[in-house]
Symmetry: C2
Subunit: 612 residues, 2 copies
């Protein structure tokens, strides 16, 4: 019964339930070893995954995936889940091209109940599943596992508000580690921490026993019991929590690293035919001391084992953050906003120098934009630094709260273009076609650090409405740059063939252009009359766009040129559909943005290429 067990010898997840607690603990140690060594090699989310090892084991002992649906919010804490559901063999290919994803992917395993990557979606998705089960008379459970950081997102609350009123088979497990990516913020976080510290909640065993004692038969009588004795339950067993106010039975806080305690709570949750909220305390980075001591540093790790987000190596993000802080030295109106990405967006410097004007709003991109609009109405100059793919959550706020009224806000759009190993959910390919539809918006796409600085200046002081500056993850790769961000750099000999692009892929274009002239756009939308006039002089145009084709900058430029009478060749090379995880270079090749593909399209000979 207490024999040593190994992941590879077990039929998982079924056989988990047959193990003793010591065997489970031993398995957890093995799992932690695998996660640590893999993530230090491949990169990935270390702290979150180390925090949920015991919780995941307990969930798979109590519930039967895939009949029971486990929905991991964000998904970056699901590595243990992956190891327990058939992906041990391929785990060394975590986040690799053609390997397994760093998030949950239903097309990867039937045990990944829902796609994940963006935050705060799990309750809504699990509730949809739970309601479908109710309609089908299916008595299994839908279980949302969601961190306290994700609770700063309004979607989590919308889900809770709907799920709490139902009398259904939904269980929400709060993975409470007091962190989102940076230190968690907001009133709700404070509130959770106040519960976390409340020892009166701790003796889950006694509490669940007491609940179950009073429930001779499961089903209707239980529901009735809960209904009639709710206030009694509340006042005797617990004091009221917000989650009970929202209609859930609250169990917790549970020690998230004690398998026996976790199981007891989960079994109780399973028996209650009512929405249940299980509050689990975990330690982010548990079992790997550098990550326990500084979980923020080890939130997302790049391949090779260092954390790209926090180190002070030069990158577009850090250049942006540093320059913004400099502008703010001389302009007291500048305010910086981040949605839980202080380090990721390079704002740590600003936060230190201008703490009063630095706002980390939590994972709440919609709020960030409306909040910025409020600041702008009072004469402030708000700058929201955000990853391209997360800005998708602010589309309505940009249109409704900013653009209609013509307020001036600046967007620092980070991770624009391919992001590499994070895959489909995180690609920054939609911001351009999205923003092109928003009136009163200007989009800059610098390809060097000094262009980025010029664009930021322009966005702050020489643009009205929404001024977006977008830049990729990582470092600059060329130094050929426009002197005037407003709006382009034309290089070449005045031939009849023109290659157009923007952002970092201009680098490859310079090396591939041969006898083609190259037009590097810095202001990519709207395009100035001058740029249109330049294009009109050519009879062949090739537009390379590291973004979604339909509705993108190239299509819109074509429409403008067409109106002016352009009838020459116009070839668009852009992205169609979703882009799977792979190194950025590999994505470049796949979508035709590498030197060779460009040469082929342009019909230029590799020998003609200029090296930059």
């Amino acid at each position: 019964m207490n024999d040593r067990v190994h992941l590879k010898d077990l039929k998982l997840p079924q056989e988990l339930a047959t193990l003793s607690i010591p065997q489970c603990e031993q398995l957890c140690r093995e799992i932690r070893k695998i996660i640590i060594s893999t993530v230090l090699k491949n990169g990935g989310h270390l702290s979150s995954s180390l925090g949920t090892v015991e919780l995941t084991v307990a969930i798979h002992r109590v519930f039967r995936s895939p009949a029971d649906k486990i929905v991991w919010d964000v998904g970056h804490q699901s590595y243990t889940h992956k190891l327990l559901t058939g992906r041990l063999k391929d785990f060394s290919k975590l986040r690799k091209e053609d390997g397994i994803s760093g998030f949950c992917r239903p097309d990867e395993s039937e045990h990944d109940a829902f796609i994940s990557g963006h935050s705060s979606t799990a309750i809504s998705a699990a509730f949809g599943m739970a309601e479908a089960m109710r309609l089908d008379g299916d008595r299994h459970h839908a279980i949302a596992v969601i961190g306290d950081g994700a609770f700063t997102g309004g979607l989590a609350y919308e889900g809770l508000n709907n799920a709490g009123k139902s009398s259904d088979n939904i269980i929400v497990i709060l993975n409470h580690n007091d962190m989102s990516i940076s230190k968690n913020v907001g009133a709700f976080a404070k509130y959770l921490t106040s519960i976390r510290r409340n020892s009166a909640y701790l003796d889950v065993k006694k509490k669940t026993e007491k609940i179950l004692e009073n429930m001779p038969i499961i089903g209707e009588p239980v529901k009735k019991f809960i209904k009639t004795s709710k206030s009694a339950l509340k006042s005797v067993l617990y004091h009221s929590t917000m989650f009970e106010d929202m209609g859930f039975v609250y169990l917790g806080p549970i020690d998230g690293h004690n398998i026996a305690e976790l199981e007891e709570a989960l079994r109780a949750a399973k028996k209650l035919r009512h929405p249940v909220f299980v509050h689990v305390n975990t330690v982010k980075g548990r079992g790997y001391s550098p990550a326990e001591i500084n979980p923020g540093e080890f939130h997302a790790i790049s391949a090779g084992g260092y954390n790209a987000e926090s180190f002070n190596n030069i990158s577009f993000s850090n250049v942006f953050g540093k320059k913004l802080a400099e502008f703010a030295d001389n302009d007291r109106n500048i305010c910086a906003i981040t949605a839980a990405m202080k380090y990721g967006t390079g704002l740590q410097n600003f936060a230190v120098k201008h703490g009063e004007r630095f706002f980390d709003v939590g994972i709440a991109e919609s709020h960030a934009v409306t909040f910025a609009a409020g600041l702008a109405k009072q004469g402030k100059l708000p700058v929201f630094a955000v990853y391209s793919s997360f800005l998708q959550r602010s589309y309505d706020q940009l249109i409704h709260d900013v653009a209609i009224d013509g307020s001036h806000i600046v967007l620092g759009i980070d991770r624009a273009g391919f992001v590499g190993e994070d895959g489909e959910t995180h690609q920054g390919l939609f911001d351009v076609p999205m923003l092109i539809t928003v009136p009163n918006t200007v989009i800059y796409s610098p390809s060097t650090y000094s262009e980025l600085e010029m664009c930021l200046d322009c966005a702050l002081y020489h643009t009205n409405g929404i001024a977006a500056v977008r830049y990729p993850k990582g470092t600059e790769n060329i130094t050929i740059e426009a002197e005037n961000v407003d709006s382009y750099l034309l290089t070449g000999n005045g031939g009849k063939r023109l290659a157009i692009s923007y952002g970092r892929i201009v680098h490859n274009l310079y090396t591939a252009a041969g006898d083609c002239d190259v037009l590097k756009l810095v202001k990519i939308f709207p395009v100035d009359e001058e740029v249109l006039d330049i294009c009109m002089d050519y009879s062949e145009i090739y537009f390379f766009e590291e973004g979604i084709k339909t509705g993108g900058a190239a299509e819109t430029l074509l429409a403008e040129l067409y109106e002016k009478g352009y009838r020459g060749k116009f070839v668009i090379k852009a992205v169609d559909g979703f882009v799977k995880q792979a190194p950025v270079e590999s994505c470049m090749k796949k979508y035709g943005f590498d030197k060779d593909s460009m040469c082929e399209l342009l019909g230029t000979n590799r020998s003609e290429m200029i090296e930059t």
Copy 2:
């Protein structure tokens, strides 16, 4: 002191503060009369505005707009505010072309602190203003007035979560009428109602006195007092509410029709230098008995005094709802979802027939889509009926939670195109360019009822991924229709000139086309090869699009045709920028979609026109 006063004789809002309570009450009666007579004539939001008459008067007596910022959530309850801030004279032109807006518009008055129209934005915007004030050392207040319905939207919660942790000059006033547009839903609504009914909260006078007794000086000592005695305050004066858990001082519930009581609470809120949450109970429709008895019916009223949303006259919405309910008779997997728009989207029939499968999620469009994705993962066929402009809130959820995983959901996009009197915030002009960027999406745009039925069939059973069916407000205006929604109807004599359009404006096109052939698109994106081939046969193409031009269907079609070698004339007539309130016919004229403008563009003679 108690002489009769009249709105027109007062210098407002300043002189409000000099009036006695009876004078205020008299003024409220006058205001109600004006609102009722105007709305019955011009259309507008009656119930909401009647519910906030006393509250608005009290706010303007206690605070000094525009130095104090009053942010009305949604804005449809701001008619009294408009009458008190210089718009009495123009009030007869409420919602008229060139008249005053039915929502708040900063370009209309300095007293309209923030744009409104969409729900749940007020707390975020007001908090932005409050933080700007803090940075500027400005001791005025930012006051968000928000209904309980708007609290079902996650953005309100994101705002609350941020505002509650600040030590700032923000006041949130909950206008609690137990209704959103239809009956309010969700756990939070239940919770609010439980507080509303709690008589222990009612004696506000005693409570505020007790608070103030203990606060000799306002400022730091007060903050300290609140901090140290928070639990005492809680347990003695109130019991804990969720809002206190979120960091606010809670005052309420207050009788929202008692000016003296309201003032007292607002003065207390003003003195506290801390985030304050004031819970006000109001009666929607107060003072107009038909609206009090049935506030849902009188939520939005069309010009002429009847409620277009609830009557059973035939409209696209009702045809959609009825047909969907019919499909659901034979298909137990069909589920219908609305975001607080059961009547508006014509789902009332479905709700009655298939109540178990009908989900009103509250004003929570983001959740609606992710919830739909959850249902779809379990084999259900979810249909989310939503107004075009509100779907903008689901952009990320459509991409991330639905499209990447290839789940099949159906969108019934109502109010597509110009909406008329609701103006900029409500125009349905962005859904096409927005959805065109989302991979795995098909967009149908029927122009007749039977096409709508065919499209719905197609979307449910013959399309994968996201299938959107979009249709305008109101009734069909033509009966010339495609037999096969997949995908067009070509009429004409095989000339060289082709006019293309979709949706309702095809009606005008038929009458204006003259010798032009007409291609009516039903599936507008992606366009079939067959349609491209048809276009290639023409040398002049005119595309009329009742939607945003940049990134719209016309530009994308042009790009496709260009790739196939089309070099003929291609003229796009679409919408640029935001469209102000005006009758739909007037918008049509302004943007070139009326018969005359079309004739002019096409160079067709009016005498050539076919009458349909």
